[in-house]
Symmetry: C2
């Protein structure tokens, strides 16, 4: 199977040609980053003459991931960016036209795709907001073809970023004020997921990331220490520490390659001015206590202790409860995969259709689904949040046009109008700050790691309940 060829890239005969873009995701390809059925449905709506039908879709989560008592909304910025730039290239259109599946679809549909822009409105809750099951995160109102095409991309972004923000928020809560850094790039679901996970972790309260690209692009503080390979490269451990310290005098030294306690002793005996040490294996409680004692006795009172190695919110809480003197937790796999439940089951459901009338107005038709276990509520909705004594008391899910309940604040805000972004997006730091305020407003039992709440402070408005009853199954 081994072959040789002339390479287009390097013009050397032993380099085999590769197509460098096939496995990446380019910005101009996003129109096809969608389920195939969104496009077949679009063609069928078009063919049925439904171009002027306005649809209302709402994205929400029916059931939180296992062990969760709240979720953190995230991903909106990326969704708006996608919607705003959504167009089909000629290549993509030719591809669809070439498929057997599309051979009965009239050519006018492809002309429609050539001109496609999203022209609708989008309401959404601010990123960083705490939500409960069945509360809409996003409401899309647009011609049905446009609204349908958004579904897959919108859900994949909202589901993933909210999943990781939620896990980060729990982990940061567990750390009770000590720093949590996201360290998971190598276990994230590919390099783009690693970038998004770094962002979502910051939303949830992490102080930084090991992902350099996230630091570069999103202005998240970059963290890093050293790997075991660095220590192993040198003939002895102390040489490794000394060499590292020459260029990174504020660096953390990794002490568990051979024998943790011995390594800490070597550092203090050699008077290497370490800003901190990192423990990555073994009994982290014992090792942190012992290391702290050695460091303090040698006058290294300002040197910090970082711990890592398959940490999660439960292990962190246990370490803190037992008094482990750990200053920084590096959390990887468990955080960026949301390992105890790696999926947020957000759905995107049609709740109303506005059919044009002969008088140039719209008739609003409510829609619900009655599949077992998957029932929905009809109509365009708003979430009215009532806060009392600085704590979330009740969220009332009602029709968007019903009078706001007393002392309530609507959570869904208009971010897009006629395809244009009309609301300033906050910075990532502002989103993190907003999330921290939200956590303070959450009653204590919702942040308790040992409890999973099934009873949420959410109710549907009387009008909404009455409208739901009208649909007989």
């Amino acid at each position: 199977m081994s072959q040789y060829a002339t390479c287009h890239a390097c013009h050397w005969k032993v380099c085999i040609e590769m197509n460098p873009s096939k496995l990446m995701l380019s910005e101009n390809e996003l129109a096809l980053a969608t389920d195939f059925y969104e496009l077949t449905m679009a063609a069928a709506y078009f063919n049925a003459g439904h171009l002027d039908r306005q649809a209302v879709f709402e994205a929400f989560v029916r059931k939180l991931p296992r062990n969760r008592s709240y979720m953190v909304a995230a991903g909106l910025e990326q969704i708006l960016e996608y919607v705003r730039n959504l167009t089909f290239t000629e290549d993509q259109i030719s591809y669809l036209q070439s498929l057997d599946t599309f051979k009965q679809v009239p050519g006018r549909f492809f002309d429609y795709l050539r001109r496609f822009r999203f022209t609708g409105d989008i309401w959404a809750v601010d990123e960083g907001t705490v939500l409960f099951p069945n509360e809409p995160f996003i409401r899309v109102e647009a011609p049905i073809v446009e609204a349908q095409i958004l579904e897959t991309y919108l859900l994949s972004v909202m589901n993933f970023e909210s999943l990781i923000s939620t896990k980060a928020s729990r982990t940061v809560n567990a750390a009770g004020g000590r720093d949590v850094v996201e360290f998971g790039s190598r276990r994230a679901h590919g390099p783009h997921a690693a970038l998004l996970a770094a962002r979502a972790s910051f939303v949830g309260g992490c102080v930084g990331t090991s992902n350099t690209l996230a630091a570069y692009k999103l202005d998240i503080p970059a963290f890093g220490t050293m790997a075991h390979s660095f220590v192993m490269n040198f003939e002895n451990e102390l040489d490794a520490f000394t060499e590292f310290n020459k260029v990174f005098s504020h660096g953390f030294l990794l002490v568990d390659t051979y024998d943790t306690i011995e390594a800490v002793k070597k550092i203090v005996q050699a008077r290497i001015p370490a800003a901190g040490i990192r423990l990555d294996s073994g009994d982290l409680h014992f090792l942190s206590v012992e290391s702290r004692r050695i460091l303090d006795a040698a006058g290294y009172t300002n040197s910090k202790i970082m711990a890592s190695g398959d940490l999660n919110e439960h292990i962190i809480k246990d370490l803190i409860d037992r008094g482990a003197p750990i200053d920084v937790f590096g959390v990887g796999t468990e955080l960026v995969t949301s390992r105890d439940d790696p999926a947020m089951n957000g759905v995107y459901k049609l709740t109303a259709i506005k059919v044009p009338t002969t008088e140039g107005k719209y008739k609003v038709l409510h829609r619900i689904k009655t599949s077992p276990g998957k029932k929905t509520h009809p109509g365009p909705k708003q979430v009215f949040r009532i806060v009392e004594n600085a704590a979330i008391k009740t969220d009332i899910v009602g029709f968007e046009d019903e009078p706001a309940p007393e002392n309530s604040t609507p959570l869904l805000k208009k971010y897009m109008e006629a395809g244009r972004v009309v609301r300033q997006l906050p910075s990532l730091k502002e989103i993190q700050r907003l999330h921290k305020e939200q956590i303070k407003m959450l009653p204590g039992e919702f942040t308790d790691l040992d409890v999973t709440m099934n009873d949420f402070p959410v109710r549907f408005s009387d009008r909404l309940e009455a409208a739901t009853q009208q649909f007989k199954v």
Copy 2:
């Protein structure tokens, strides 16, 4: 917070400016898609004068994900693509130089990054190959700075694609010859993970994907039916089916929006020529048996039944064992997140250093790590696979330069030499075919869903064991 501005993109005053590239991952950014410590270590190696040290790194999995008895190697194509194109842009270098962390690093290091190309060799097992714990998937031999910088990206790709190929392989095994289609884009960890998951699922044996971009770029068959929203858009279900059928006469009709059995009856009574129906909720065994009966009685014997809705390998096996007449399984969340264990814990470990000698040769120094539970074996390795009676008998992990055991085949092949790809990469279909052959060679207990093997047909060669013993802890 609501503000208005003039938009650079559309010159309309209500469109707020956004930076469209911030949340995507471009090909020319990949050099920073790495853990920060890879770059600080690179600077320290450079400063210590280790540019001419050759390092040997090996990537392997210590412990398979929960419930797995084998893993499927995947991700190599993307890794080679990355390595081959890896360069630092001036912008990225300026960014690193601007960071406090790098302020003691000599300017020569940044000049080195400006000229950076990977110049080493890479051995790897073919994608689609079945592997067990502790068997190297990839071996990298290169100057230590170069080999170190690859770590994060290489692992994130190998870990994710192998994770999903492995889950797909299990799912396809469970389906016992019936078709499995990957339907998970909306629950994948973002849109790029969705693309990679579609590829990995195909490697593992899925017949297609719902991800249009994967179909377009990777030539995987695209599948799709319709969503509940499509049915709900119409005044009644039958109108929806009729309209869809007008343009997609070979389409599948989704029958569970209101009442599944009623919907199937409506289809046959109206004589809509459905190529198939999709069940997405309820008791899939009962509904498939009942639907098959109605379809057959009405002469729809060629119409297929597809089932979907939180399926996984166990549910599929159970449905088949109970005789459910389901022809196609659409598997989403469980597959693309590998939900029962969403992380492959691949690691990348230094196993040897080649230090230049004054005679122009290299002295090979073996390296191992002795952290508790994380011990490694020293030296550059090969996996020698012995197949007897068309079944995998033993894999012997030995030094790359020891004589191959009788009747064995080496699994690691040279894919890159001096930074150039020297081995033709197989097509995705060829990879899938290779994997199917591998599954046939796997003893039955390794594909049994009810058993998780702890005893693998892997042993270390005598020479390797002896070399490991020489390292005293």
